[in-house]
Amino acid sequence: MGGNDLSAFQITQEHHARAEVLHLVGSLDAHTSSEVENRLEQLLSAGAPALVLDFSLVDYVSSAGFGVLLNALHAFRLTGADIKIARISERVYRLFATLGFHKIFDMRASIAEAIDSFEFLGADADSGSGAS
């Protein structure tokens, strides 16, 4: 019994004028969470003020994943930045709700709504984006 493709995790970063968006694909577990942690630390170091995590293709989160997400949220908010979660599936939302984390993370139905919800960025419409 091995991990192989089942354990793969993909992160694609998309730059928007008003926020960075990370499209996450896979299961966020003890194996993959360090990859996400590294990327979040890079963004924090780079001074990204607004980050949206696209959860539409995240099918699972374990305690390791929750730990990474919560630590990142604390770290971002300490610097005046913030993280929003967008497009979370019902099944994964239920895992968040089990721990009460649905009340800690700001969750939005769409990426556009998540970007618009960053209060410190003003109400101007988002313009321009590009994947990197």
Binding site: G3, S7, A30, Y60, S62, G67, T98
Partner: protein, 142 residues
């Protein structure tokens, strides 16, 4: 279903989850039941890999997974030869404290105890045995 051998690596956790999912589905468990059980088993196995076999010099680090379906629910037994760790008696972290401090670790034990109805641990002849029991909805303990 006899015991399934798993090499104790973090990359094997995905296969562990797939095995539990397939077993729960095949035995008619509702999706929420399956999701809870998958997460609890994943946390037990992640602990074995990360802590039970933390010593890199251990050779042939592995564990076994044994699943059985009963009228009342599903029972999963995980056995390993790593360091002893009594998950049954380990204190579950205080969730509010964990959130406030952003503490690393401790959340897995909390999840295991939240998501299944019974957690048992024993160590016999150098083998750790964790038994997780989850009752199907509508089935009450006598």
């Amino acid at each position: 279903m006899g015991p399934i051998g798993v090499v104790a690596t973090l990359s094997a956790l995905a296969s562990v989850r797939a095995t539990v999912a397939e077993f729960a589905t095949r035995n008619g468990a509702p999706i929420e039941f399956a999701d809870d059980l998958i997460l609890a088993v994943d946390e037990v196995c992640a602990n074995i890999v990360s802590h039970g076999y933390a010593d890199p010099d251990v050779e042939d680090a592995a564990f076994t997974l044994e699943l059985s379906a009963h009228d009342e629910g599903i029972v999963v037994v995980v056995r390993d030869r790593g360091e002893a760790f009594d998950v049954q008696r380990a204190p579950a972290t205080d969730l509010a404290d964990w959130i406030a401090r952003g503490k690393k670790g401790g959340l897995g034990i909390k999840l295991i105890k939240m998501l299944v109805d019974d957690v048992r641990y024993r160590r016999i002849d150098g083998i750790n045995e964790v038994t997780l029991s989850k009752r199907l909805p509508g089935v009450f303990s006598s």
